[in-house]
Subunit: 659 residues, 2 copies
C-alpha cells in the first residue's frame, strides 16, 4: 500500500501516511491534536481543517484520483458554504490519497487544558495499609537455622507485634542477600499480611502515590505516608483525549477499532501515569522502586480502559461495570512502573456510571456522617450526585449532563484552556457583557488586548445565567426578540437566534463568539438533568429541603455558585451553605492511601450507598422537563430572596465566594 507525505500547519509536523487513512488519523499519528468531541461519529463538526495544497488538485471534487477522497453528505450538512469555498474539510471524513498540506485552524486545535488540582490538607491521621518497620535479627546458626522469612516474621512479631504470613516473590528474590549485606538490620515494608520490600538499615520516610484519572486530566499526589502530606503534586492531560473528548466517544472508539482501540488508549494512559510517577519521584529525590503503593480513582469508563477491560458494556444501558468492588493489583500486572512488588489499589465502583471517583468523593465528604442533609454534585462530563445524611442514609445517581458544561457541543465551546472566556457578567441596564479570558490577568472589557478563542464551562454557565437574569432569555430558555440589545441577532445560515458575546475584532479566531439558542438548550439539558436527579433523590429520601450543597471536582471550583443556583442547577439552599471543595475524588484517593480505616470505609460505604437508576423512576420525564425550565425567581429560591431583592448585592456575594 502506498504512503503519502502529509504536513500539518501551523505545527509543521509531517510524516508518511498510509493511503486511505483519514486526516484525523494522520494527525493523531503525527502527534497533532485536533478536537474530536463526538469520537468520529460525524456529529460534532469540531474537527474542521483547511486543506492548503492537495485539495482536489488534479481531477476535481468527485474524482477518486484527487489527493483526498470526495465530499460526504455529512460534510455538506455540517460545513457552511463559506467554509466549503475555503477548502475546509472535516478531518474524520476526508481520506488521504496523495500528498497534502493541511492547516489546523485555531478553533480546531486541541489545547492544553489549564490543570488546577491542588492538594488540601486531609483531616485523617496516617495509618496506611503499607507500613514500614525497622528490625534487627541475629544471623542463622546451627542451633538456630531458621529460614530468612520466618526470622523476619518473628522479629516483626516480637518487636512490633505485627504478623505476616507471606512475601512477594519479587521481594524474596533479593531478601537473602539484603539481610546479609545489611548485617540483619533492615527496614521491612509490610502490606497487609505480606512482606513486600526489605532494605538495609533504618528508613525514616516512605511514600505512596494517589491518582485521580479524570476524563480530561490526570492528577497525581505523591504522599509522605507518615505525615499524610502530599509532598509533590503533578498533573497532565489524559492523553486519551485524542481518541475522543468524553467517555462515550472513547467507548465508541474502542468499539469501532476492536482490539487496537482499547489497547491504544490503555497504553496511552499507562504511559502518562508512568511519566507522572517519574516526575514525582524525581522531584523529591527518590526512585520508582521506593514506591510500593498507589491508589486510583476514576470513572467507570476510565477504570475499564485502564485495566484493559472492554468498556463497551459500561456505555450501554444499564451500564453494568465488569467489577464493582475495590481491587488490589500488583503494579507489575498493570504495567505501572513502580516497585514490582508494589500494590495498586483501585477504589470501588459504586454502580453504572457512578465510579470509583465518586467513591472517592463519598469518603472525602462523608455525607453518611453528616448531621445536615447534604447534596454533593461532582460535575464533569457526567454528573454524579450523592444526597443524604447520617440519619437518612445516602443515595447516589448519575446524570447525563452531556459535555455541554465542559464546553463541548457548544458552538464556541472549548476546554478551560488559554483563550477561553471563563467568567461573564451582563449589565442589567445596557445588556452589554464583560468577560474574563484564561491566560489574562484582567477582566476583558473590550479595551484590553484581545484573544478570546471560545467559551469554557464556567463561562457558559455564567453567560446563560446572566442572559436569564437580564431577561434576554425567558424561563423556557427562548431568546426574547424584543430585548433591547443589538447583540441579539439571527444566524443567517441556521436561522437561529444568538447573543454575540465578543465581536470578531476582540477574538483570535476571526469571527464573532456567540451563544446560540442551541447552546442555551444544551445548558438547560445539563442543568435540568442535575436538578431532576436531585429532586428524585430528595423524593426517595422523603425530604423537601437541603441544608447544604457541595460542588466537587476541579471544575466545580471554578463555577460561579450563584450562577449555578440562579439558573436552577440544584434546589433551593442558603447560598452560604454552598461549598466548592475542589478535587474531592482525589482527596478520596489520598485518604485510602494513608488510612486503612478509610480504605475499609470506602469498600463498605460504596456498597451501602443506594444507587438510583433515574430512567426507571416513573415520573422521570415530567420531572426532567420541569427541571429544564429556568426557575421562578420568588417561588424557587426562598433562601436567597433577600439577596435577589438587591441585584448589586448578590453580585458582591457571588464575587466574594468565587474570588
Amino acid at each position: 500500500m502506498s504512503e503519502h507525505t502529509v504536513i500539518f500547519q501551523p505545527s509543521g509536523r509531517r510524516g508518511k501516511i498510509k493511503e486511505g487513512e483519514t486526516l484525523l488519523e494522520a494527525a493523531r499519528s503525527l502527534g497533532v491534536e485536533i478536537e474530536s468531541i463526538c469520537g468520529e461519529k460525524k456529529t460534532c463538526g469540531k474537527c474542521k481543517v483547511q486543506v492548503e495544497e492537495g485539495f482536489f488538485e488534479k481531477y476535481g471534487v468527485d474524482s477518486k484520483m484527487s489527493n483526498l477522497t470526495g465530499w460526504t453528505p455529512d460534510e455538506d450538512r455540517m460545513l457552511s458554504s463559506a467554509e466549503k469555498e475555503n477548502k475546509y474539510r472535516l478531518s474524520c471524513l476526508a481520506h488521504v490519497q496523495g500528498e497534502l498540506l493541511v492547516f489546523v485552524p485555531e478553533e480546531s486545535r486541541g489545547g492544553q487544558q489549564v490543570v488546577r488540582k491542588k492538594a488540601g490538607k486531609l483531616k485523617y491521621k496516617p495509618d496506611p495499609a503499607l507500613e514500614i518497620f525497622y528490625i534487627e535479627m541475629s544471623a542463622p546458626s546451627l542451633h538456630d537455622p531458621e529460614d530468612d522469612f520466618l526470622r523476619v516474621a518473628k522479629a516483626l512479631k516480637e518487636k512490633h507485634g505485627r504478623e505476616v504470613g507471606k512475601i512477594d516473590i519479587y521481594c524474596l528474590k533479593t531478601m537473602a542477600d539484603t539481610l546479609r549485606k545489611a548485617k540483619w538490620k533492615v527496614t521491612v515494608f509490610v502490606w497487609n499480611d505480606q512482606v513486600v520490600r526489605v532494605v538495609p538499615g533504618e528508613v525514616e520516610k516512605y511514600y505512596g502515590i494517589a491518582v485521580d484519572i479524570g476524563t480530561t486530566t490526570v492528577a497525581a499526589y505523591l504522599t509522605d505516608m507518615k505525615t499524610g502530606r502530599a509532598v509533590a503534586v503533578d498533573s497532565k492531560m489524559n492523553p486519551q483525549v485524542i481518541y475522543g473528548e468524553d467517555v462515550m466517544s472513547r467507548i465508541t472508539y474502542a468499539m469501532q477499532n476492536p482490539g487496537v482501540g482499547l489497547e491504544k488508549m490503555n497504553a496511552a494512559i499507562l504511559k502518562a501515569l508512568n511519566e507522572l510517577i517519574g516526575s514525582l519521584v524525581e522531584e523529591i529525590g527518590v526512585t520508582r522502586d521506593d514506591i510500593l503503593e498507589m491508589t486510583l480513582v476514576c470513572n467507570t469508563a476510565m477504570h475499564h480502559i485502564l485495566l484493559g477491560l472492554n468498556p463497551e458494556h459500561v456505555g450501554v444501558a444499564p451500564f453494568p461495570t465488569a467489577m464493582a468492588p475495590a481491587m488490589d493489583i500488583k503494579a507489575r500486572d498493570m504495567g505501572l512502573d513502580i516497585n514490582k512488588s508494589g500494590n495498586i489499589h483501585i477504589l470501588a465502583n459504586e454502580a453504572g456510571f457512578v465510579g470509583a471517583d465518586n467513591c472517592g468523593v463519598l469518603i472525602a465528604e462523608e455525607p453518611y456522617n453528616s448531621e445536615e442533609t447534604v447534596l454533593v454534585i461532582d460535575i464533569g462530563t457526567n454528573g454524579e450526585l450523592l444526597c443524604g445524611s447520617k440519619k437518612l442514609g445516602v443515595v447516589s445517581c448519575s446524570v447525563a449532563t452531556g459535555p455541554a458544561l465542559e464546553g463541548a457541543q457548544i458552538k464556541f465551546g472549548m476546554r478551560a484552556a488559554p483563550g477561553a472566556i471563563e467568567k461573564v457578567e451582563i449589565d442589567s441596564e445596557t445588556l452589554e457583557p464583560r468577560y474574563k479570558v484564561i491566560g489574562k490577568t484582567d477582566w476583558h472589557t473590550h479595551i484590553h488586548e484581545i484573544d478570546a478563542k471560545g467559551i469554557c464551562g464556567s463561562g457558559i454557565i455564567d453567560v446563560v445565567a446572566e442572559l436569564f437574569r437580564t431577561g434576554i432569555i425567558d424561563r423556557g430558555g427562548r431568546f426574547s426578540k424584543h430585548a433591547p440589545t443589538k447583540r441579539l441577532v439571527k444566524d443567517p445560515d441556521t436561522g437561529q437566534m444568538e447573543y454575540i458575546l465578543a465581536y470578531e475584532p476582540e477574538t483570535s479566531i476571526g469571527k464573532n463568539i456567540s451563544i446560540t439558542q442551541g447552546d442555551v438548550r444544551a445548558i438547560q439539558l445539563a442543568k435540568g438533568s442535575i436538578y431532576s436527579g436531585a429532586v428524585i433523590m430528595m423524593k426517595r429520601l422523603g425530604i423537601d429541603k437541603l441544608d447544604k450543597v457541595i460542588l466537587a471536582g476541579a471544575f466545580g471550583s471554578h463555577l460561579n455558585q450563584f450562577s449555578c443556583m440562579f439558573m436552577g442547577m440544584f434546589p433551593d439552599v442558603d447560598i452560604k451553605n454552598v461549598y466548592a471543595v475542589g478535587n474531592a475524588a482525589g482527596d478520596g484517593a489520598r485518604l485510602v492511601l494513608i488510612n486503612r480505616d478509610k480504605r475499609r470505609e470506602a469498600d463498605e460505604m460504596a456498597r451501602k450507598v443506594e444507587y438510583l437508576e433515574l430512567t426507571v423512576y416513573e415520573n422521570f420525564e415530567r420531572v426532567f422537563m420541569e427541571a429544564m425550565q429556568f426557575p421562578h425567581m420568588t417561588d424557587s429560591f426562598p433562601s436567597i430572596q433577600h439577596v435577589l431583592d438587591e441585584i448589586p448585592n448578590w453580585k458582591k456575594i457571588a464575587k466574594e465566594k468565587n474570588a
Copy 2:
C-alpha cells in the same frame, strides 16, 4: 574476540566457539552432554574428552599458540599416562584457542537416565483448592444493573453456597464478553476466594498438574481434579544436570557465575517444566489455558533456583532457606506457561536441606498418624529422614550421603541409564559375580551380549553388600587380600585394591569395570550417614526399635532392600516391614493438588516436625564412625537371624520383594 569452529564426535555437533571458552562450555553451548559431577570444581575427573585434531598441533604442549591451552596440574593428577598419550583432556580445564575436533568417549557421555516414576492411586477423596461451578444468571437490566463480578458472586453463593471476594485481573479482562457470549451460562473456576476463570457453558472435567522436581529427574502428573487420578504422566531429565550433577555443584556453579549462572539454571528448569506441561496437555487434548493449578515439590536448592533465589546460603552451614512456608505464586510471575491466572503452590520447606520434597513425603506417608514407629528414608543425593509415630511425634534430619549412592564419585559409577549394571549377586562359593544391565532383559552371565558401561546406585549397593556377605571385604570395609578370587587385584596406577565386576571384553568402554577400595569407602560413608541419622533420631525419640522402614523415592524402589539392610543402611527391623513406596514426594505434590485438607496439613505438619541438626549432636562423630562399619551378623539384626541362617533363603525373599 575471535571464534573457532569446534566439532564434537560422535554426535557430529559443531559450531563457532569464542576463544577462551572451555571445551565443557563449548559442549554445553552446542547441546553436547558431557558428564560433570563436580560442577567444574576440578575434582571428579569425569569430563574426559579425547582431542582428535587441534591437540597442540602447531607449537607443542606448552605453547600459547596451540589450539588448546596447555596442561594443568589437575589434569596431571587425574589423567593416567595412557590417557595423556592418547590426547585425553579434562574438558573443564582445556580452553579453546583454535579449531578442534573432539571425541567424547562413551564413559563421559551424559546419558538419558531411565526415568521410572509411576503414579499410584491416592487414598484421599478429591476436594481441591481449585474448584469449578456451573452457574446461570439473568442479564443486567435497568432494575438490576449490578456489575458482572457481583452478579457472578451472587450466583455462586445462591447456587453453590460458595463465597468469593476477588477476581484475578487477567480473568476479569475477558469475563464481560464471555458472560454475554455464553448468554450468562458459564462455568466459573474458583481458587480460594478468587474467581480465576470463566468459560462458556457447563464444563465437566478439569485438570491440575503436580510436579516433583528432582535434582536429576523432573516428573509431572496431570491430574483429573474431580477423580484425583493422574491421567497423564511424563518426566524428563532435569536439564540443570549440565551445570552440575548434584545440588552442591549447581550452587557452586551459581556462585562462580554471578548473575548468569542462576539465570541459566532457572531458565533451563522453566523450559523443561513448560515442555512437560505442553506434552501433558497435548496428550489429553486440552490447552495450557485449561490448567489453573500446579503443585511443586523439590529440595531446597532446586526450590531456590526455580524461584530465581540465590541458592548460595542453602549451600553453606547452617543452610538457611530464604523461605520455609508454602508459597502461592501466580503462574505469570514464575514464567510457567499455563493460564495466566493460574496458581503455583510450592510446598513448605521444612528446614535446611529438608525441603518441600520431604514435606511431600511427610504428608504422603503420614508418620504423625502412624500407630507404629516408622523410619522414612528418602534416598537421593541427600538423604532426608523422618522418624516417629502418632504417639512420639516426628523428627526429621538431613544426611549428607553424597552422590555415591547414585553412582557419582564411584570409579565406574553412572546414572541409572542404559548400560548401567543395576543388580549384582556374588556366588558364595566361587566368588564369581553375575549382574543385570539396564536396557537388557536378561541377567548378564558373561554369555549374553555385552554392553556394561558402568554401575548405577542400586548395583553399587548390591555389589558392596555382596562383597561383605561373601567375605571379600571385612566389617571395616577393607578388601581381604586372601579372598580366593582372581578378580581381586591391585590397580597399578593407584596401588588400591579393586574387585573386577566385568572384564573388558564384557564392557562397552574398552576396559574392566571394577569396584575399588575407594568406592567401598564412599558407600560406607553414605550408608553410615543414613544409619547414624536414624540412630540419633531414635535416641531423640527415646526408642531402640523400629516397627517399619519406608524407602521413598524412585531410587529407593530400585534398591534391593535386603542389600540395604544387610550393609547396615538402617537399624534392625523385620524385613517384612521394609517397604518401597516409590515417589512419595510426588505423591505429596499430587495430594495437595487434589485435597485442600492435605494442603493445610502439609503447612501445619512441616512446621510441627522437629528438625534435628545432626552435626550439633554431641556424640555425632562417634555415632557416625561406628555406623560406617558393616554390621555384626548376629548382634545387629536379630529380626532377620532366621533368614540369615539359610543363605539361599534370604536371596529368595530378597528376590520376591524386589521383583
